[in-house]
Symmetry: C2
Subunit: 350 residues, 2 copies
């Protein structure tokens, strides 16, 4: 390890995708914790819950009835944050009060008919069906010319704001570029213009050579803790091929993505022997906005747990007002995740 | 209200201090909530807790004993995230893995010898003593030439990562500029260069004219919900005078700041009749870095509660990966806070 002094002392690291820094305080794990201890959500759900709006054959808030689906299932969010028919409007007072209307479509994807499963408990073929659906949804949403960006994501676990434990994710497609996408587009574009190669492809090359933060790889994807990770066990899945979005993946690549997701989320569950909460989502090129050759598909996982199943990292005062901060090093986190079994702790218990 | 259509429909608003947008979905409050319900922390603490490392005469992790202080009390954090003696070091691999050492000092400020109080329960003269200490600490930290920025903040409440209910705040002073300060410096500098006046002074003028988001004002400070607020009941305190940092405040201004803090935090507690959690902190000009005439002192309050004492807003999947999003309008939040009494609900109950 070439940066040993840095690894022991407080330092900051650059997020090359956003241009922003994270403060790393490796020595701070010694701090005793007398703060909040999270409740563990109940883990004895039935395979079918008559009150769940995601279970097959149940009815939803808008009056529709779910089909008796056998794989995955997608529908428009009954409480969408963005609406398709928002009239165009804008407001500007001396460039000090500035607002613009925004159009969008919000969808919900149930990952499985079974109420009591989560991604790591599905088989690779079952997860592949979810990837298929993500790909099909991305393709059809991108056909609407007013849509400029499509965010595919999952909030898993109560402490990540998930309001229904039935395994599901969301897609929000919208008419403007979100803040994080603007940052990543600028940084990737700048790098591509200068180096004529993808920022993440060159980054992957260094990471694979060093092999200090790699958790898993197959022929198409690498799972790693990024050098600039903010959350204690934050990871990324990066495609080995430089592609702009999910539509580029072949049937075989989709299986390999499903495998990468299964391995990572299983290790996550095994870390504290709990259903590991996180927010995860893909970042991909804007759509209907010309060429974005600079963009390289990737997926972020932002999990909050720090010390145990019940003690999370708080991104609060200093972090909100000044700068994100972390207590363990990315290398420590990567090592722990790497060493963990790919067999789910629940299946071992049986 | 000139932006009525926007107020009813999903739209985005520009944060003029950072250049980033927030997505506002006013219609989304109708969404039913089946998600996480927070525990209410116990509210029957004793005035003195023999196990608390902040109470007078108790001993701390580093072996020191707290004096029998009568007002407020400051000491170096026994588990500082930043250290004064970090050796200078840096690391760079092809501009893809980039890190730099960082020096700093972390301090803890106890607001009161009484374990069972919080800021809104202190008197204006008692809060003024805290403001005095903030000012004195800022002044003496800024005397160290290697310190470039000083963050004064408070995490209040378990759900904001506060690990000890004894009323206290923190100060982190450091050798580099944090991310949020870099953004606010750039935006203010640009505005000042073009308009030869302070961004926030001109913004305040419009807000006072419109009077749609003002919660409270006195001769020296305005408390308002910023047009671009992200958190449901996010607010700012802005000084009427264009000053760079807290050292500029006169004795009378410090009293008026204490009054503004007391009024705001009392209204916060009254909103859901609970000790209202938040992270709050001042933003001020960098130090030992030449003139920062563009900078205008202000204080942010970021409170997480949305619907009740036990249901908060989650900044998760979409918000982390794409863009901050809020469900109620800033105008609605400002109205609710404005209407609330300035008498604390606990004192009424007596
Ligand atoms: O310093 P404390 O109170 O132990 O810790 C709290 O505030 C810090 C500064 O915002 C955060 O880094 C921690 O995550 C939080 O738990
Ligand atoms: O859409 P849901 O699951 O009701 O809500 C959850 O995810 C959304 C998108 O990240 C967030 O805006 C909400 O705060 C969160 O509770």
């Amino acid at each position: 390890n070439e940066a040993q002094q840095l690894d022991l002392n407080p330092h900051r690291r650059l997020n090359i995708l956003t241009g922003e820094w994270v403060l790393v305080s490796p020595h701070r794990t010694k701090r005793p914790w007398q703060g909040k201890v999270e409740d563990l959500p109940e883990d004895n759900r039935p395979a079918y819950d008559p009150k769940c709006y995601l279970c097959p054959t149940n009815s939803r808030a808008d009056g529709d009835t779910n089909p008796d689906y056998k794989e995955s299932f997608v529908f428009k969010n009954d409480f969408s944050a963005l609406l398709e028919d928002t009239p165009t409007d804008s407001y500007n007072q001396n460039d000090l009060l500035v607002a613009q209307s925004e159009r969008g479509i919000c969808k919900v994807i149930s990952f499985s008919p079974k109420h009591n499963l989560t991604l790591p408990e599905l088989s690779v073929p079952e997860i592949t069906k979810v990837v298929d659906l993500w790909q099909a949804e991305f393709r059809s949403l991108a056909e609407q010319p007013w849509i400029k960006y499509i965010q595919i994501f999952e909030n898993k676990g109560e402490i990540m704001g998930c309001s229904n434990p039935h395994p599901h994710g969301q897609i929000w497609a919208q008419s403007e570029f979100p803040v994080e996408i603007t940052k990543e587009t600028e940084r990737q574009r700048k790098y591509y213009a200068i180096n004529k190669s993808s920022l993440l492809k060159d980054y992957l090359k260094i990471e694979l050579e060093k092999n200090e933060r790699i958790i898993f790889e197959n022929d198409a994807f690498v799972v790693l803790v990024p050098f600039w990770a903010v959350w204690p066990y934050e990871t990324m899945i990066i495609s080995k091929r430089h592609v702009q979005n999910i539509t580029a993946f072949s049937a075989h690549e989709k299986e390999l993505l499903a495998e990468a997701i299964k391995v990572l989320t299983t290790k996550y569950d095994n870390l504290f022997e709990t259903s590991f909460p996180y927010s995860a989502g893909m970042h991909q090129a804007p759509v209907n906005d010309g060429n974005h050759t600079e963009w390289h598909w990737h997926m972020h996982f932002y999990p909050p747990l720090l010390r145990s199943a019940t003690v999370k990292k708080f991104m609060v005062g200093y972090e909100m007002l000044a700068n994100p901060q972390r207590d363990i090093t990315p290398e420590y986190a990567a090592n722990r995740l790497k060493e963990l079994s790919t067999e789910h702790y629940k299946s071992k218990a049986q």
